[in-house]
Symmetry: C2
Subunit: 481 residues, 2 copies
Amino acid sequence: MSHSLTSVFQKIDSLKPQFFSRLTKAIQIPAVSSDESLRSKVFDKAKFISEQLSQSGFHDIKMVDLGIQPPPISTPNLSLPPVILSRFGSDPSKKTVLVYGHYDVQPAQLEDGWDTEPFKLAIDEAKGIMKGRGVTDDTGPLLSWINVVDAFKASGQEFPVNLVTCFEGMEESGSLKLDELIKKEANGYFKGVDAVCISDNYWLGTKKPVLTYGLRGCNYYQTIIEGPTADLHSGIFGGVVAEPMIDLMQVLGSLVDSKGKILIDGIDEMVAPLTEKEKALYKDIEFSVEELNAATGSKTSLYDKKEDILMHRWRYPSLSIHGVEGAFSAQGAKTVIPAKVFGKFSIRTVPDMDSEKLTSLVQKHCDAKFKSLNSPNKCRTELIHDGAYWVSDPFNAQFTAAKKATKLVYGVDPDFTREGGSIPITLTFQDALNTSVLLLPMGRGDDGAHSINEKLDISNFVGGMKTMAAYLQYYSESPEN
Amino acid sequence: MSHSLTSVFQKIDSLKPQFFSRLTKAIQIPAVSSDESLRSKVFDKAKFISEQLSQSGFHDIKMVDLGIQPPPISTPNLSLPPVILSRFGSDPSKKTVLVYGHYDVQPAQLEDGWDTEPFKLAIDEAKGIMKGRGVTDDTGPLLSWINVVDAFKASGQEFPVNLVTCFEGMEESGSLKLDELIKKEANGYFKGVDAVCISDNYWLGTKKPVLTYGLRGCNYYQTIIEGPTADLHSGIFGGVVAEPMIDLMQVLGSLVDSKGKILIDGIDEMVAPLTEKEKALYKDIEFSVEELNAATGSKTSLYDKKEDILMHRWRYPSLSIHGVEGAFSAQGAKTVIPAKVFGKFSIRTVPDMDSEKLTSLVQKHCDAKFKSLNSPNKCRTELIHDGAYWVSDPFNAQFTAAKKATKLVYGVDPDFTREGGSIPITLTFQDALNTSVLLLPMGRGDDGAHSINEKLDISNFVGGMKTMAAYLQYYSESPEN
């Protein structure tokens, strides 16, 4: 370890009481972005954070007003919380790293089943755990970037990069208008950013640190089958008219089998082949079918082997059937023949699937299946929305720096993970700023981010700050961007 | 024509103004059983009808209290409308005919698109049409039984049978508690009833009178597939867990094909074979594929030939898929993997299908299909409710009398029809009283019973009353019951 990091790490340890105090003050503000009645608290928290930035020597602090929240909304003229932009350093000879985080939180009430008041940080040093809403998602990680600056300053070490913050207050409510802001500031406030680091996800499990380099995309479709002009009585018309629901079962049933295999021709060919280099990443990842079963509360896994589960979650497409609109959907019995039904399904996309080509294959498949039924009904399939997959190069400069940092702090190489779901803002940063994005999680898979008793292990908090510090240091020393 | 019927028919013609007046007074009472705020009007109408019965010489009039309406209901302690029991005659040497009708009506408002006030009878003698809510369903036919008694009396002819009325006020709202009453009175008020006649359905078309001798039954099922203990995020779990919806599409898709053919083994074998005698009944029935297409507003008929359409509506089973409970069913897109889904379908049953055996075949089929999927999920199929089919002998004494009556009045043999839907009360009468039931419709297929501008042709009103009179006369003369 370089001398500079040793002293920074020492300061992170010794400043712990100060960092706990900062986190305590932040957690006690119930900044629930989805609760319109608490919107002023979200603003209060933004103010608190901007004060922390100011005290720690950040400059050019901007509370960017995103205007009025668009509908659907109950409160008229409700202002969106500000995005907090700020800088620490602006040395043209250094690399510039943008760090994203969010200060808003999920709702929480003691009555939901919390052991302690959710908006009062409970620090249990004996158990090594801090509990409170937002502690891991994402107030703890967000404040950590400020803490790291404090530690560098206290150690008398020069901060290795120029830091830019982009802290939003609407992540738990759809990151409204953030996309537009990023695109607008790409050549403004964010000009010159070399890399983006997001600390807003989690380790896969509870023991091994991870770096996340990919997310699947999502194409959402509906197949619409219509026949009669209005719903019909099944006593009178059952057996004499072609029922749209019967046709829909055939079309939806032709998309994927019970083993999860997608039956649409041409999709497999679009999936990037597994390279030996990528394959090697899966071998050491700490995960098991037991962990999957624990998460679903069942034994419904399609695979027994860790590698198969992870690859099908991260690097292969999947097709889920979500439901049917227009048919009977309540409890009990209703003898209607629905006249027009919408079958909803989505495909999680991965490299190198092209969204337009996928849509064309899906439509071709559904049209052909429907045609084979010789039904007098009408059928069409349409895309409701698509969001692209994201995958980064886990061997690039940022990831290499983060890997080295993790090894230094935790003594092990991190697992390189992807996630099955989408975080659309990741791709927006990558595309708008034309930079690499690193997902650098701080907490563990069992932190209960959106659940009761949200926690962050103190060792992850401290280890996470040290990892951030070392990542910035190593990245600054890297010959490439 | 016997002399007695000639004079009764003359009186039916000459008493027309009086019958119009009685119908006008009845129609103006908005006896909407589904509208709790109008419940007092339903009671008013019961009172009006009991007065008419009394004036016409019916005796032993009982307004049977069915107690408080069971939930779901908004108004606490809402009384059910009474069932009106009464007799005309009690001569042990005569046959006894029970006539069923209902005095409640469907909701109606001028704003729905009526040409005239729905609760004001509009008699257009030039066009030969009466318009008003309830005129054909079922106030007109109900009052006609009283009118027929009046006509016999005015003509000085002896009434040929003992008449028993069972007039209810909740038919449009599920005939609550009527079943219990019929069973209870089978050996009480209804003791000695030889035949039951219900005038509460319609001609198949607009030109040819019909007698109805069959109704299909209905077995309603749900297939329940469950896997995970809670709904899952399709980004994280799509492709790695067995999705209940995917399995359900396979099971539901295996039940019936797009041509309406039921694919469950053993059902065809239970269906009574078509006899030459029954087949002959279809040949002359006035109906066409164009009429079916007009009713569905589409060209979705599975058959071109009249006989095929009618047989598949009346005498063959059908399977309809109604919807899915537990899955996404709203507009738009939601990326959930439903944890537990209920696929709803029903089978319209016909002679000689046995409900218990059918359920066992359905369960065997669904279990086998699910097993073939090798899914780790759990699947079971259960019966939600069953209502038996009803079929009468269209060549028995009642039908023969009604056929002869129809020929006398309209100059043509009636079509013998069945209906695809269920009228459970028909079977209750047949089983509880151990008698034959005749469905003797008065109105036409285009009367718009539950729609706007409900009408009854004056010629059907008058012809219907004459048919009722002649049916009672001929039935009384029949050597058999």
